[in-house]
């Protein structure tokens, strides 16, 4: 039996947008990953704790409601502090308040330590593709 790669999925902060989360959960699971879905309204420490507990290879953070800038800051540091500083960190959704040039948003979140930043409306297939590529590159998954 193949050992599935584990990933953490959740919507950060005071954000309750659940639809995209449910669809991502469904799609990533169907693509062969083991998803620990924390659902909505997830504080930073819960992401980190879940990742440590399950020995996950990636954390997928969603923020839809506009407070992403405030909520997502410091997650990479928190990972480092707890010894999982190398973990793959993806973030996506509607990350900032207002309709903004995505290149700026991307830079902001890359600077915060996220490995990949996704524009609003990203489809699950793209996430799954990137996840596979990144994990293969890191030798954490076979092609």
């Amino acid at each position: 039996m193949e050992n599935k790669v584990k990933v953490i999925l959740g919507v950060i902060g005071a954000d309750c947008h659940a639809v995209g989360n449910k669809i991502l959960n469904h799609a990533i699971t169907a693509a062969g990953f083991e998803v620990a879905n924390l659902g909505v309204l997830v504080p930073q420490e819960e992401f980190v704790n879940a990742a440590i507990e399950t020995n996950a290879k990636a954390i997928l953070v969603a923020s839809l409601y506009g407070h992403g800038e405030i909520d997502c800051r410091g997650l990479r540091e928190r990972c480092r502090e707890t010894g999982i500083g190398d973990i793959l960190l993806y973030v996506g959704g509607n990350l900032v308040v207002g309709k903004t040039d995505f290149a700026e948003v991307e830079k902001k979140f890359i600077d915060m330590g996220y490995d990949k930043v996704y524009a609003p409306g990203t489809l699950p297939d793209q996430v799954i593709n990137d996840l596979k590529n990144d994990l293969v590159k890191r030798g954490l998954m076979s092609e």
Binding site: G13, H17, A18, N21, I70, V97, K99, P120
Partner: protein
């Protein structure tokens, strides 16, 4: 306190109130007697309930945006802009998400960061932090009826402050502001907390101040079948009426099929009148609100305008009392004031072009009304039965049993067993009726409708169909057909 659908006594209310007003320093600014006097001096044209009654009488459909930013002056400018440039009839104040989760410290932080950044870093107006004084600055600077719009499971302090501040309308309810907005807050808790909020509105009513209340109709905004949102809306309306609320607006989020949308508003009006009368709340004035498409929007602004205009048209044709307006920025972020005003103006134009055009109540509309009413009655009567004659207790038990069930909701307190999908003409049906207390005829009806579509698409009804429907409008269609169709 034990949950039951019974008007709180003054003592019960008073005891809780003392605690509530201490939750944040601004609570101390609330002085009920003074607030009543303040309301007495609010001119008629700024009173929400009065404007709704007039609209209902004249067959108007009023426009209302969503809007809120972190800082007082910016918020005032925003609202006045929407009034002047957006021709909005009614104005909102959307509350930020920290306040909705009672995280007033985070909200304070957001205010400070917004001041520094020179732009709003909050997704709404943190009314608790701004306090009664701050709220009144807003209320006094805007020449239109104002409503608080939020999504707060425990809104007790927020209600105290915004009503004392002079708002004349208030959105929310113990179910509709829990299930779509929270994860692990018990329903018992939120219904109790919303009895408090409703009781406060009732208290104002007892002092001659008419404040409009509005359960949040669209719930998750994502393929919610009309009967489910109607059942929940009517329950919340009845619970509010029991606490003394006298002016109630029931809501519905556009599904997208015109026949179903028109039928839904008609059914909602008829059912509400029926159930309010049946339970003896004869002195409530009931109106309706139609929410333009609440699910995922197309990113392209031109396409978004089409979705907005179609929502406006459906609202006007259904003769809802007001319509809540989306903006061309919907898919991407909180709209600029300009984009918000554009959505309002497009809506106004569509409504005005349609205001003189009555939509014929065809046999298709009548059939749909009959279906929606039959389903809603099944649900409501089962809730009443499970609660042994108490809708509050019945609601808690019904969510446990899956008699009430909201699709795609984040809450652990809904079973998430029903699965909605569109039928072949785009009406929202149930591809899985879960534990809903429907009659066999109704269950068969849904089955047939789904089979009809499945046949046309040459595939079985499955979760993939649901997913396709969720993306459909944002990808430019109503029904999420497989690519080849």
């Amino acid at each position: 306190m034990e949950l039951k659908n019974k008007k709180w006594t003054h003592d019960e209310f008073g005891a809780v109130r003392e605690e509530i007003l201490k939750q944040w320093p601004t609570g101390a600014e609330v002085d009920f007697e003074e607030a009543v006097k303040y309301h007495e001096n609010i001119p008629a044209k700024r009173q929400f309930a009065k404007r709704l009654i007039k609209a209902k009488k004249n067959g108007e459909t009023l426009t209302q945006p969503r809007a809120g930013v972190a800082l007082i002056n910016e918020h005032i400018n925003l609202l006045n802009f929407l009034r002047n440039e957006g021709e909005a009839d009614l104005l909102p104040t959307t509350i930020d998400s920290y306040t909705r989760q009672n995280q007033y410290k985070e909200a304070e932080n957001g205010i400070e960061e917004s001041k520094r950044a020179g732009r709003s870093l909050l997704n709404g107006f943190p009314a608790v932090n701004h306090g009664v004084k701050g709220v009144r600055q807003v209320v006094e600077s805007v020449e239109a009826p104002l409503q608080v719009r939020h999504g707060t499971p425990d809104a007790r302090l927020l209600t105290e402050i915004t009503l004392a501040g002079g708002f004349t309308s208030y959105e929310g309810g113990g179910i509709s502001y829990n299930i779509p907005y929270a994860k692990s807050v018990s329903l018992e808790r939120t219904i109790l907390d919303w009895q408090y909020a409703d009781r406060l509105v009732g208290l104002y009513a007892e002092h001659g101040i008419e404040i409009n209340g509005e359960p949040f109709g669209p719930l998750t905004g994502t393929l919610v079948p009309p009967s489910m949102s109607h059942a929940i809306g009517i329950i919340e309306g009845l619970l509010a009426a029991e606490q003394g609320v006298k002016n109630i607006t029931l809501g519905y989020g556009q599904c997208g099929n015109l026949i179903q949308d028109v039928a839904a508003i008609k059914a909602l009006e008829q059912l509400a009148e029926e159930y309010f009368a049946k339970h003896g709340y004869n002195d409530c004035v009931l109106t309706t609100v139609f929410h333009q498409w609440m699910g995922g929007f197309p990113q392209d602004e031109a396409k978004a305008f089409a979705v907005i205009s179609w929502g406006a048209a459906a609202a006007a044709l259904s003769k809802a009392t007001k319509v809540i307006v989306k903006t061309p920025h919907e898919a991407l972020g909180i709209p600029t004031k300009e984009a918000n005003a554009q959505g309002l103006r497009a809506t106004k134009q569509a409504i005005n072009m349609l205001r003189d055009q009555p939509f014929p109540i065809t046999k298709e509309v009548e059939q749909e009304i009959a279906i929606i009413k039959a389903e809603t009655r099944c649900i409501l009567d089962k809730v009443f039965e499970l609660g042994k004659g108490d809708y509050a207790i019945g609601s808690v038990r019904s969510f446990e049993a899956g008699v009430l069930d909201v699709p795609f909701a984040p809450s652990n307190y809904t079973l998430n067993k029903i699965l909605p999908a569109r039928d072949n003409i785009g009406a929202v049906r149930l591809f899985d009726t879960g534990n809903l207390p429907f009659t066999k005829e109704l269950i068969d009806f849904h089955k047939e409708k789904m089979e009809e579509r499945a046949k046309v698409e040459g595939r079985k009804a499955s979760f993939q169909m649901v997913i396709d429907d969720i993306y459909a409008i944002s990808k430019g269609r109503l029904v999420g057909r497989p690519n080849s169709k």
